[in-house]
């Protein structure tokens, strides 16, 4: 594959990630602002962005440290929240399988909710392995830079963003905008609806376990409805 095609795929990934930043940036701002205002502080709070690179786990860490939880509880909670990455890793293992090891080591670090969904959508049509890895790198790098920048700005400007803007609402809205690309047929739609209903009911479960339980319920629904299809 010529270099120009690799560049095309990478730019394709950057373009796909840009609208997603509407949700990533406000979430990063919230992480930075929350860290700066609490026990963990702006510096360690910001460093959690390159070190952990997972918003929900970072928020949970910031809150639990603020509540004076023991280190073991903080670490265990954050890792349970991030257990969904096991599913994402399984989901992309086949598509990443023929990448060189150093690419897999790098892209694993950049694996997020958004990269998983964008890659799952795009890989239905993108067969070439070189194009696939440059596409993933374009997405991951765009999201990574935006996340670091947004959490740094959040630390610096803190509570200056008016609450009336409801910027936190941008996070679910971006996922809503991703749905038409990811939900292509009836079994997939059923998976979405069952997972959504389960997540609403299971939301009180500790450690964000409702999210994993709901996803498993949705996948099971899709598989059952998909039986007998070619």
């Amino acid at each position: 594959m010529p270099a120009s095609s690799a560049r095309t795929a990478a730019l394709d990934g950057v373009r796909a990630a840009l609208p997603v930043l509407l949700g990533v940036a406000p979430f990063g701002l919230i992480v930075g602002a929350t860290a700066a205002a609490t026990e963990i502080g702006g510096l360690v709070g910001f460093l959690s962005s390159p070190i952990v690179f997972a918003g929900a786990a970072q928020i949970a860490t910031i809150q639990l440290v603020d509540q004076g939880s023991t280190a073991l509880v903080v670490i265990a909670t954050a890792l349970v929240i991030n257990s969904r990455h096991l599913m994402y890793s399984a989901g992309l293992a086949g598509a990443f399988g023929d990448f060189p090891l150093r690419w897999r080591l790098l892209l694993a670090y950049g694996l997020t909710d958004h990269l998983f969904v964008l890659a799952s959508i795009r890989y239905e049509r993108l067969i070439d392995p070189v194009g696939r890895r440059w596409y993933a790198l374009g997405v991951a790098l765009t999201l990574w830079i935006a996340w670091q920048a947004a959490s740094a700005v959040g630390v610096l400007v803190g509570a200056a963003v008016p609450a009336s803007w409801n910027l936190d609402f941008a996070v679910p809205l971006v996922f809503l905008g991703l749905m038409p690309g990811a939900v292509r047929d009836r079994p997939a739609l059923a998976a979405t609806l069952v997972a959504g209903a389960t997540a609403v009911v299971a939301a009180p479960l500790a450690w964000n376990l409702g999210l994993v339980a709901a996803t498993l319920a949705g996948v099971l629904t899709g598989v059952i409805l998909d039986r007998g299809r070619p």
Binding site: S48, V52, V65, A90, G97, R104, N166, F169, A195, V219
Partner: protein
């Protein structure tokens, strides 16, 4: 344990979760029995991420018209369905919530 050490431990553990299957599988093909369920992870996880944010914005289930995030999310869902555009969907939802908030 310092706060930074806690963050580093979480970062290492999270990287392990992310690398797990991607690192272990290598060039071996994914068995079909595993591959079929995998295509439902993305639609399912999207439903699980969106629904509680719309239906339980304050922590309790609220399906009434007084739940402004549910109403604004419904408007955004229509825009998502018609435009298939992430930016338009997000802008419509934020604008709808701001207008509903201001009117309320």
């Amino acid at each position: 344990m310092t706060d930074l050490a806690i963050v580093v431990a979480i970062g290492v553990g999270t990287y392990g979760l992310r690398l797990s299957f991607i690192g272990a599988l290598g060039t071996r093909p994914v068995p079909p029995a595993i591959e079929r369920p995998l295509r439902f992870i993305a639609p399912a996880v999207l439903g699980a991420l969106i629904a509680p944010a719309l239906v339980r914005p304050e922590g309790v289930i609220d399906l009434g018209p007084g739940n402004l995030r549910l109403v604004a999310g419904g408007i955004a869902a229509l825009v998502a369905w018609r435009t298939k555009n992430i930016a338009a969907t997000t802008a419509a939802g934020l604008l709808a919530l701001w207008l509903l908030d201001t009117a309320a």
